[in-house]
């Protein structure tokens, strides 16, 4: 059924269809309407779940960790400083291999305080061992939430579904709500291989020695490094699972097919703009205009950021002349994180003339600074038509110094 609603409602309906059993969240702008909607749905009896109000985001994720350890399908959501407050627990959830799903409604972080959109919050949590998926519109929000549970439970790694605060969370657009009977067959109830069992007490993630050791049964038990290595191995291997889950979803619902990157007018493009979230769709309009002027340019959006789909990225970009990365986040003291990662993925691909595409970085839209179509147009056009100088230094769009 097609409806017109906000992005936060799309996320809430995705959680409802996924039949999450425990939801713990602390309200923060612009995530608030998502958790409000979920508490309304549960209060009205339209969903069987425990909604646990908490006093902080740290506690919200702690509750999800406990609930997930006990075998319940668990969900939380946050934004910005709320996500940062969870930081320690983020590492815990992934290290403990718990299939928690969290929506991150992207917002800039303080100081100075802001409530508006950029990607600094989730980008700065890149290395916590969570899978990160970014949605470009409301359809991708609801679909990604449902797929995220299936994925998390297959690979036993928690998943963040990230979407732009306000730009997506508070805007209204049409999207399709999948049929509950179909989502139930796509996502059966969570049956954990292991969960807490009072009849079989165990120590979970206590102090783990630097070296391997023999456990009480005389079996060699992993040390800290083995466990961390397995997380890395499984994170990389999860790309296969992501493709499988996506294609299974596509077979049932007819949507998907590009779980890593989504390309637009890029097949023959000499230049490719890269963006995340709603910005990547905004860039499509700009690319249409530039194409009308005869400039060979396309757009690639990053749908998956961790694990980094380095092979898909390199395949999509290695043969073009220039890559222009538009980012709403910054690794202070260097450049945008996506830009660095893309350059790293291209390192092994040297063209016939010993060259690789140039990679340029634009920083824009921080703290909700309005992104004007004409600014995107001018920046992209300039990058496609002039030889880049000092490419390692990001340029800023929309700055009013």
């Amino acid at each position: 059924m097609q409806i017109i609603e906000s992005g936060n409602v799309a996320a809430a309906l995705g959680v409802k269809l996924s039949r999450a059993q425990v939801i713990a969240a602390y309200p923060i702008t612009p995530q608030t309407p998502l958790t409000e909607k979920l508490s309304e749905i549960i209060e009205a009896g339209d969903m069987t779940a425990e909604y646990i109000p908490v006093e902080s985001e740290h506690s919200a994720l702690a509750i999800c960790i406990a609930a997930s350890s006990a075998g319940a399908r668990s969900f939380t959501a946050t934004s910005a400083n709320g996500l940062l407050y969870m930081h320690e627990q983020l590492h815990w959830a992934s290290g403990a291999r718990l299939p928690i799903v969290m929506c991150v409604v992207n917002r800039g972080v303080g100081a100075p305080w802001t409530v508006w959109n950029d990607h600094q919050d989730s980008m700065s949590q890149r290395d916590t061992g969570w899978i990160q998926i970014y949605a470009n519109d409301h359809q991708q929000i609801i679909d990604s939430v449902i797929k995220a549970f299936a994925l998390a439970e297959e690979v036993m790694i928690p998943v963040m579904v990230c979407y732009d605060g306000y730009l997506l969370s508070h805007t209204y657009m049409p999207f399709d709500i999948p049929e509950a009977t179909l989502t139930d067959s796509f996502l059966p109830p969570y049956r954990p291989a292991y969960c807490l069992d009072p009849d079989e007490p165990a120590n979970l993630n206590t102090v783990t020695l630097s070296d391997v050791r023999t456990d009480i049964n005389g079996v060699k038990a992993h040390g800290y490094m083995e466990i961390r290595h397995l997380l890395q191995q499984d994170m990389l291997a999860s790309m296969d699972a992501i493709e499988r889950v996506d294609s299974r979803f596509k077979n049932i619902f007819g949507r998907g097919g590009s779980p890593f990157i989504e390309s637009y007018r890029s097949d023959d493009a000499r230049f490719i703009a890269v963006g995340i979230g709603s910005l990547s769709y905004h860039l499509r309009d700009v690319v249409d205009d530039l194409r009308d002027e005869g400039i060979s340019v396309g757009v690639m959006s990053m749908q998956l950021y961790r694990p980094f789909p380095y092979q898909a990225v390199a395949k999509a970009l290695k043969d073009c002349q220039g890559v222009i990365v538009f980012e709403k986040a910054l690794s202070y003291g260097y450049q945008g994180p996506v830009c660095s990662d893309i350059k790293s993925a291209l390192y092994h691909y040297v063209g016939p003339e010993g060259s690789r595409p140039f990679v340029l970085n634009y920083i824009l839209g921080l703290g909700g600074r309005e992104i004007l179509t004409k600014d995107l147009y001018e920046g992209l056009k300039l990058s496609c038509t002039t030889k880049p100088s000092s490419p390692d230094k990001p340029r800023w769009i929309g700055l009013k110094l």
């Binding site: 291989a193 007490p201 165990a202 120590n203 993630n205 456990d215 009480i216 049964n217 992993h222």
Partner: protein, 100 residues
């Protein structure tokens, strides 16, 4: 499936021997006085606070409870928790003197 998953995390069972024969770490030895110990006195399985609190799982639920000195590290938690003060912590050196 279950074992595969458990080996991806730090997962262990509490019990003696996880860190080798830890009995040699002991400076003080817990000694149970059967005249004061509740299950020993009553002759029924009861109390077992020492069993419950032992962080290394080296105390049995017998009558009286038995301590496995091969693994007991001598932390003294059992003596601290015993409601009737039936467990005394005794200098380990005094046993060495006895043995020789």
């Amino acid at each position: 499936m279950k074992d595969d998953y458990c080996r991806k995390t730090s997962h262990s069972k509490s019990g003696p021997g996880d860190a080798g024969k830890t009995g040699s770490w002991r400076i003080l030895r817990p000694v149970i006085d059967p005249a004061v110990c509740i299950p020993a006195k009553r002759g029924t399985p009861s109390c077992y606070m020492c069993w419950l609190y032992c962080p290394d799982g080296v105390i049995s639920r017998g009558i009286p409870p038995e301590i496995d000195y091969e693994y007991c590290k001598g932390c003294g938690i059992c003596a601290e928790e015993c409601p009737t003060k039936a467990i005394r912590m005794v200098e380990e050196s005094s046993f060495i003197k006895e043995d020789t």
